[in-house]
Point group: C2
Chain length 178, copies 2
């Protein structure tokens, strides 16, 4: 139950239409909570029905017409509540690790190429994050909001670093296999 809260956060940062939200979910927020436009439109409808957000009254809400939303006080209150509430971390679920485990039983034929491909993907993602860090968090930018957002980006960078290192290690092991 996090998508509505992701949307509330995004709308508080800046009121937006469905499509604008979709764009912003393709980067930024989407780096740790991805969503398709269908999910977003559906959720916007629900949030409006529940009275947590409302359409900005600027233009008539016809089809093919931009419709922007803003967060209402109830919405902000709900986000505040949710943010502070304890939540258990969800157990890991990773396909590549499962495949590696399977390959111990049915053989490693073919998986190495995909390990290599994943390494490239994670290296690219890491480079992108580091670019963002350089651009958005130069030394001195350290208001409370900046520090918190930087912390989130750091998690992304460290995670991608972990994956690139682990994948390199895995490929080295493969090279040594009989």
């Amino acid at each position: 139950m996090s998508l509505p809260h992701a949307i509330l956060t995004a709308l508080l940062e800046k009121p937006s239409s469905g499509l604008e939200l979709t764009r912003r979910f393709d980067k930024s927020i989407g780096y740790f909570w991805s969503a398709t436009h269908q999910q977003i439109y559906r959720e916007l409808g629900k949030l409006e029905a529940e009275g947590l957000i409302r359409a900005l009254p600027a233009q008539q809400p016809a089809r093919g017409q931009k419709k922007s939303y803003e967060v209402l006080p109830t919405g902000r209150a709900e986000l505040t509540r949710w943010t502070a509430a304890a939540q258990d971390p969800k157990p890991l679920r990773d396909v590549m690790l499962l495949r590696l485990r399977a390959s111990a039983v049915v053989g490693t034929e073919g998986i190495e190429a995909d390990l290599r491909r994943h390494l490239e993907l994670h290296e690219r993602q890491l480079a992108e994050y580091e670019e963002i860090e350089k651009r958005d968090f130069p030394p001195g930018k350290d208001s409370t909001e900046d520090r918190l957002r930087h912390l989130v980006l750091r998690a992304g960078i460290d995670l991608e670093t972990f994956w690139t290192q682990w994948l390199r290690h895995a490929l080295e092991e493969f090279a040594e296999l009989p």
Copy 2:
């Protein structure tokens, strides 16, 4: 579509009943692909219907009766195919990072305690993995299967290490916040 393959892997490692599988999914395989017993029973039914596994014919399959399954050649072939097939890594989706981002907008009240709790949980998990590493992978145990399984465990250890370090860093930042 990974649960059936997780089950095939587990059954190849050792033919089991639904309940035994459930137990094994609570550790080992479950560390990177968790599943509830309901999921497992449903999937066993499907896999049997598709002819990828079959019930061991030992005892009559009455209710409240153990029923063990083994993998058929078609099942092994399917697992081999799936393991070698390229698959994209799924985008990250992490609630804590989302909450941190939200807290930049609605305030950090309350979240610090949960960061501390998560740190403890991840420290505990890390200790458990390291225990397993010491027990199951002493120096010298390095057949191909051992190496592959060790690699998977290493990913778990490194991931938990990442989380503990990041959470400690986050808590330090919080201590400095106005």
